[in-house]
């Protein structure tokens, strides 16, 4: 498939999914009312439902997915492994750990403290992964270090919940760690957008070099790739984007593996060309999954992160098994 066709198709699908997300909800609204509200011409209640509840929620789902999809595709290109992803490598868990710490122990300092803490946590984890990747050439070691990092962050999170000063805030925190975009506002999006934008720019400028890494590090360096610069760009870019996504929605796993996996065959397996479509595909998947979450019957709403894990984890195992049988 040609890249422009793929990108246009994904952009159109994403816009359609965002529009569809505005249609569904606990208050039934027909297409006419939704469009009127989108244009600000609806009733006060309709406008509020669309602009304060449904649109920011759907947009959050898309942005979180896009950040994780782009980070996943970039990390997979850098580490030359289709299983590399912010969730598997412990980046999301580290971001969630730092953000939770701030929420529990000092959340009222500033509105920016949660996104900043989340980004710092993600950057520390990505840097650790990149340093390990540099020292070992074993992808297995790298994935295991990621699993260890993830477990450590989980353990520290449990410790923190154990010692939490305000037990009443535990439910909030617990819900947040499950991963959800419910009740997000444009203000929440605005607070993470600088990190998202910067992360996206860093990943985009590194794309061309990722293609050359297909040939391995020595050959990539010999054709003109500055490996040190590339690693720094991807670590910063993936850290910023993942940290921002965790600050907005908590840790949502596996979408960073699944989306690039679906996209890669459609753009010639080129890591650079898969960055943008993988981001859109991941955003699209999360918007659709979030619509599913809202439409599911039941008293309690299923959390987006839980659904993503329920679908993503078996797919992850499938990818692992197919790789080991072809190797």
């Amino acid at each position: 498939m040609r890249d422009p066709a793929l990108n246009l198709g994904l952009a159109a699908s994403s816009l359609s999914a965002l529009a569809a997300a505005c249609l569904f909800g606990s208050t039934p609204m027909d297409v006419g009312r939704v469009f009127a509200a989108l244009l600000g011409q609806g009733s006060a209640v309709d406008n509020a439902i669309i602009w304060q509840i449904r649109l920011p929620r759907a947009l959050s789902a898309f942005l979180v997915g896009a950040a994780l999809g782009a980070s996943g595709a970039a990390l997979q290109g850098l580490l030359r492994n289709p299983l590399a992803e912010p969730g598997v490598l412990g980046v999301s868990a580290s971001a969630a750990l730092c953000a939770s710490g701030v929420l529990l122990w000092g959340g009222s300092v500033s509105a920016w403290s949660v996104p900043v803490a989340s980004v710092i946590g993600a950057l520390i984890a990505t840097a650790i992964i990149a340093i390990v990747a540099w020292r070992t050439h074993s992808i297995l070691t790298l994935i295991l270090v990621g699993v260890g990092l993830s477990s450590l962050a989980g353990a520290l999170m449990s410790l923190m919940l154990n010692l939490a000063p305000h037990p009443f805030s535990l439910t909030d925190l617990f819900n947040w760690t499950l991963g959800s975009v419910a009740n997000r506002s444009f203000m929440d999006i605005a607070q993470v957008s600088p990190f998202l934008v910067l992360g996206a720019v860093l990943l985009a400028v590194s794309g061309r070099s990722l293609s050359a890494l297909t040939l391995g590090e020595a050959t990539a360096a010999s054709v003109g790739v500055n490996l040190v610069r590339l690693r720094v760009l991807i670590v910063l870019g993936a850290g910023l984007a993942t940290g921002a996504s965790v600050a907005l929605a908590g840790a949502i796993g596996f979408v960073g593996i699944v989306a690039p996996h679906l996209i890669r065959p459609l753009c010639g397996h080129d890591p650079a060309r898969s960055l943008l479509p993988a981001a859109m595909m991941a955003g699209l998947l999360l918007v659709i999954a979030d619509i599913g979450v809202r439409l599911m019957p039941g008293v309690f709403e299923l959390k987006l992160g839980v659904l993503a894990a329920l679908i993503g984890a078996p797919l992850f195992m499938l990818i692992v098994l197919r790789r080991s049988s072809s190797a």
Binding site: S211, T214, S222, G224, G268, A272
Partner: protein, 259 residues
């Protein structure tokens, strides 16, 4: 045309000298074969000559300009490198791999401009890959993949080719094919430094031989001057009959290499 000169190259790792005070020149328009047993330091030396590794001491210059002053892109426009590994991580198409040889010319994969596309087509054609251009790399044989990497190196239009065992794991016919390609590259005005383990192949194709042992360059010169039974016995520990460019290996000498 390009001249490469290396003076006093030493590479130390964990207190051991992998390359020990090696000096050499690669004259423009010549094919040089680097010979030496496993562990002689050939790959380390090649990494220094391509600028991928900083030597502990010594300098490399290209046409009188220090290699260390060049950026990665500037270096890549002058030196094309074929490392020992022929890994292609993702199942990309042959044409895409060859196009990566144009990286230093600013290509964006999937969208080649006129000049870049021409260079890629030329390289594909020179390496007899036209029919395979749209095949995925994971469906190729070892010999085909070796040709793909050759084409990738040629596509760069760099005047100097440095290749680390480009014929390893290839059958004789494919080894000849690769060396014929390298020779054609040199006849067309390029220079090449090629590590070879097949001494007969080196004797047949090279303009000059570089002999390496225990990290040192022990001899540099024409095939007829430096290819002798005594040197083969000393460097490789093999007894051989030499007749001009014809070599017949007869077996291991009673004493080991370099003893």
């Amino acid at each position: 045309m390009i001249d490469l000169e290396a003076i006093g190259i030493t590479v130390e790792q964990d207190g051991k000298a992998l390359v020990d005070n090696a000096s050499l020149t690669l004259p423009a328009g010549s094919l040089t074969a680097l010979l030496g047993p496993n562990g002689a330091g050939k790959t380390s030396l090649l990494q220094v000559l391509t600028g991928l590794r900083h030597p502990s001491s010594g300098t490399v210059s290209l046409d009188g300009q220090p290699l260390s002053r060049l950026t990665a892109i500037e270096r890549a426009r002058k030196i094309a490198y074929l490392p020992q590994t022929r890994a292609v991580v993702w199942p990309v198409k042959v044409r895409e791999v060859v196009a990566l040889g144009r990286f230093a010319h600013g290509i964006v994969t999937g969208r080649l401009s006129g000049e870049d596309a021409l260079a890629v087509d030329r390289a594909l054609n020179a390496c007899d890959l036209d029919a395979l251009a749209n095949r995925s790399c994971d469906s190729l044989s070892g010999g085909e993949l070796a040709r793909v990497h050759c084409a990738r190196a040629f596509a760069a239009d760099a005047p100097l080719l440095i290749a680390d065992e480009p014929t390893s794991a290839l059958d004789p016919r494919h080894a000849f094919d690769i060396m014929t390609l390298v020779q054609a590259f040199v006849r067309a005005g390029g220079s090449a430094l090629v590590v070879l383990h097949d001494i007969a192949l080196a004797a047949r194709y090279a303009d000059q031989l570089l002999w390496m042992q225990h990290g040192r360059i022990v001899s540099q010169g024409s095939v007829t001057d430096t290819l002798t039974p005594a040197r083969l016995a000393d460097v490789f520990g093999v007894s051989a009959q030499v007749d001009g460019r014809k070599v017949t290996l007869q077996g291991a000498t009673e004493l080991g290499a370099g003893s």
